[in-house]
């Protein structure tokens, strides 16, 4: 009786940790189902042979990795990927920063219009962008070649030349990405302390000096974030290749993610696709590790 009475007064209380688990559950379930499990499954499949027509995966150890390491095509794809990243990240970074500095003012008339128009390509789906640019790049009848013809040059056919295909795609991508990076730079710039600038002005600092000694160092966290975002974004691109070239000519425009897509959904070779996925995952981890390890060094916070 005594116990019972006591029980009624003090009902069972859910432990704090249990509450936490329940609240975390929805996110956790999604994380496990859509992130953790696929990663583990990819890791497992990458150690197997599992081609079209095989009933179940067959363990072959590191054969897939060795196969790719020996394949000239794989290294070509890796070179393409690195080249494309450099071609996109660096220009997009500087153009994005430049645009942000240009529109970082409240006084100019119609500044909202400029900001919107710089940002607007970001709102367009990559597929639409790729379709439009494909027409511009079309050999001889496209806008670019027509322009060159008018100026008395020879048509380039940039998409079917192994030397120009990636730079041409990079131009298109930079056009889109720069506006996106501009937004980060802009918000970084606007959060900077105005007093520092006033002090600099009073001290007679030139605008360039102010930019180098105040803006850039204070913008460092944004810079790092933008670099990593731009880098991972450039690795995650696939739609434009499907639309514009399908990797042509002779895989000169095949990037890692398209290569994965091809193995997985054109050849239906799940094991090789998983192997490449693991490679991709490792690259992405290395890139984003920069974010965590560099965080406390050399970066000034307000």
């Amino acid at each position: 009786m005594h116990n019972d009475q006591k029980g009624r007064k003090q009902p069972w209380k859910m432990p704090e940790s249990m509450k936490a688990w329940i609240l975390l559950a929805p996110t956790l379930i999604f994380l496990i189902v859509f992130t953790v499990y696929p990663i583990l499954r990819s890791g497992y499949l990458s150690l197997n042979a599992y081609e079209l027509g095989m009933r179940k995966p067959e363990f072959i150890g590191l054969q897939n990795y060795i196969g790719f390491a020996k394949s000239p095509l794989f290294w070509k794809v890796m070179r393409n990927t690195l080249y494309f990243s450099l071609l996109t990240v660096i220009p997009a970074f500087f153009i994005g920063l430049g645009l942000a500095l240009l529109v970082n003012t409240k006084r100019a008339k119609g500044i909202g219009l400029y900001r919107t128009s710089f940002f607007y390509p970001v709102m367009m789906p990559m597929i639409a962008i790729a379709s439009i640019w494909m027409f511009m790049y079309m050999q001889e009848s496209g806008m670019l070649d027509q322009l060159i013809l008018k100026l008395g040059g020879r048509p380039l056919g940039v998409l079917s030349n192994k030397r120009t295909v990636l730079p041409a795609m990079a131009v298109m991508y930079v056009w889109r990405e720069a506006g996106y990076l501009m937004i980060f730079f802009l918000s970084g710039l606007q959060s900077l302390d105005k007093e520092l600038y006033e002090a600099a002005l009073i001290d007679g600092s030139t605008p360039i000096h102010t930019f180098r000694k105040i803006t850039l160092p204070l913008l460092a966290p944004t810079t790092l974030f933008v670099t990593i975002t731009a880098l991972t974004d450039s690795l995650k691109l696939v739609d434009h290749i499907v639309i514009m070239t399908e990797g042509a000519p002779n895989n000169a425009s095949t990037l890692l993610l398209y290569y994965i897509y091809q193995q997985g959904f054109v050849f239906f070779d799940q094991a090789r696709a998983s192997t490449l996925t693991v490679v991709m995952l490792v690259i992405m981890l290395i890139v984003s590790m920069g974010q965590f390890f560099n965080n406390d060094k050399k970066i000034y916070y307000n």
């Binding site: 079209l52 050999q139 001889e140 013809l149 056919g157 079917s160 002779n250 050849f267």
Partner: protein, 442 residues
């Protein structure tokens, strides 16, 4: 307390909806009425889905006990992806149309059934049905001697040429080129270079993008072969890329661009080619008969169609999609799927399908129907495709065919862009193909 109850409620809701979803799936499976799912791709312009829907509706009116539900699954590539994922999800469509070249992949996966038992069960009618199909199409229905698929939306590559341009340069508009030598000669006459040194009109156009080049190349390889050898063995287990004849064929393509300068340099896309032809930028194109509707409607000039020019022989590649029946479904469903396939490929329907879409009529009897004869009388250019079928052979088809396509396309592109010589390109492709094919040759 309140918060805890809210959380509990949330958990119940989530679990409940999951259970409900599982339950409703179960009940759908148990439904008594037979409903056959039918995946079909559309790979040419125009409202082709409308015609497929009509076939299904006509069938459904006659057979309410076995409703066929058509599901449009995009182009051929998309359809292959959807079929593959539904097979791997153990929920395959009952029947589907996919590329004829997919049959080895379907077979090796144990995803489809041979149709020989059904044909045998139909007795003499069954034999007559199969024999009525044009042999050029029926040829790529077999795997290991068994009939795996039934021809439906089939096409071949033909030469479209601009008769006005022929007249302009003094060529006989009723005498299209018959040989490679004539192709070069005509193309040189037809190619028009402006005063600024830029080409205003090219003589000939062939699509060289991945997924199209291998089709055209099959034709050139056949035309140059000693005895009509194709790029692969009939059993789909051996690939012959680096024969001297094929190297010559690829060299010929490169020559059209760089030596004779009668073909646009670089890689022209399959989908751009008809537009270039229609706008007069190229005088002759190699394209599918499936584009006849588009060209006949939009050409502002007098145009003709012709057999592909030959070299050692005349030949052309066939392509297109066949009917398949899935393995993982009940025998009753398979039987009804078979009945539907016969219905959809009956003589009158095969004829109507050809008229509606521009695909080649697949059956001899379909050609003799009055409606087909009338169609040919009104559009004589359509007849060429049908007449070319007896000298046509299947395009590159093998086990793991999508990979073989890619290997061949890559090597063609590497030769076209001057990265490798044709001989080196095809030698490398052969080595790569042999590595992949080894496991099927056991």
């Amino acid at each position: 307390m309140k918060r805890q109850m809210l959380v509990a409620l949330l958990v119940v809701c989530v679990l409940g909806s999951a259970l409900f979803a599982a339950g409703s799936q179960e009940s759908a499976k148990q439904s008594e009425k037979m409903e056959l799912t039918f995946f079909f791709p559309v790979n040419v312009g125009g409202a082709v889905t409308k015609f497929v829907d009509k076939i299904c509706n006509d069938w459904n009116e006659l057979h309410p006990e076995a409703i066929v539900k058509p599901v449009y699954t995009g182009n051929y590539d998309d359809t292959v992806v959807k079929i593959q994922s539904s097979i791997q999800g153990k929920n395959p469509p009952d029947l589907f149309i996919s590329l004829a070249t997919q049959r080895f992949s379907m077979y090796v996966q144990d995803a489809v059934i041979p149709l020989d038992d059904f044909i045998a069960a139909d007795g003499a009618a069954g034999k007559a049905y199969i024999d009525d199909f044009l042999s050029g199409f029926m040829e790529d229905s077999y795997v290991e001697g068994k009939i795996i698929s039934i021809p439906f939306q089939r096409s071949t590559m033909i030469l479209y040429y601009n008769k006005d341009a022929f007249r302009e340069v003094g060529l006989d508009p009723d005498r299209p080129p018959k040989t490679w030598a004539e192709l070069v000669e005509y193309s040189q006459k037809l190619t028009k270079v402006g005063p600024d040194g830029n080409t205003q009109r090219y003589g000939v156009g062939i699509a060289l993008n991945s997924g199209s080049a291998q089709w055209g190349f099959t034709g050139f390889a056949l035309q140059n072969s000693k005895n009509g050898e194709n790029l692969m063995s009939d059993d789909g287990k051996q690939i012959f890329f680096d024969t001297p004849e094929n190297v010559e064929a690829l060299q010929f393509w490169c020559d059209l661009q760089t030596k004779y300068k009668v073909m646009q340099p670089g890689i022209v896309q399959w989908t751009d080619l008809p537009g270039q032809f229609l706008s007069g930028k190229v005088a002759m194109i190699y394209h599918t008969t499936g584009n006849l509707g588009n060209i006949s409607q939009n050409a502002t000039f007098d145009y003709g169609t012709a057999f592909l020019p030959g070299n050692k022989r005349q030949a052309a590649p066939t392509g297109g999609g066949n009917f398949y029946i899935s393995k993982g479904i009940s025998p009753e469903r398979q039987k009804m799927a078979w009945e539907f396939i016969k219905f959809a490929t009956s003589t009158e329907r095969a004829a109507q399908w050809s008229i509606d879409t521009g695909y080649v009529a697949t059956r001899k009897s379909a050609i003799e129907t009055p409606q087909m004869q009338e169609y040919y009388a009104n559009l004589p250019q359509a007849r060429v495709a049908y007449e070319q079928i007896p000298i046509s052979k299947p395009e590159l088809t093998s086990y793991d065919s999508t990979r073989m396509w890619r290997i061949l396309n890559d090597s063609i592109q590497s030769a076209i862009t001057g990265e490798k010589t044709p001989a080196q390109a095809l030698k490398d492709a052969q080595a790569e193909a042999d590595t992949v094919m080894k496991k099927f040759q056991k």
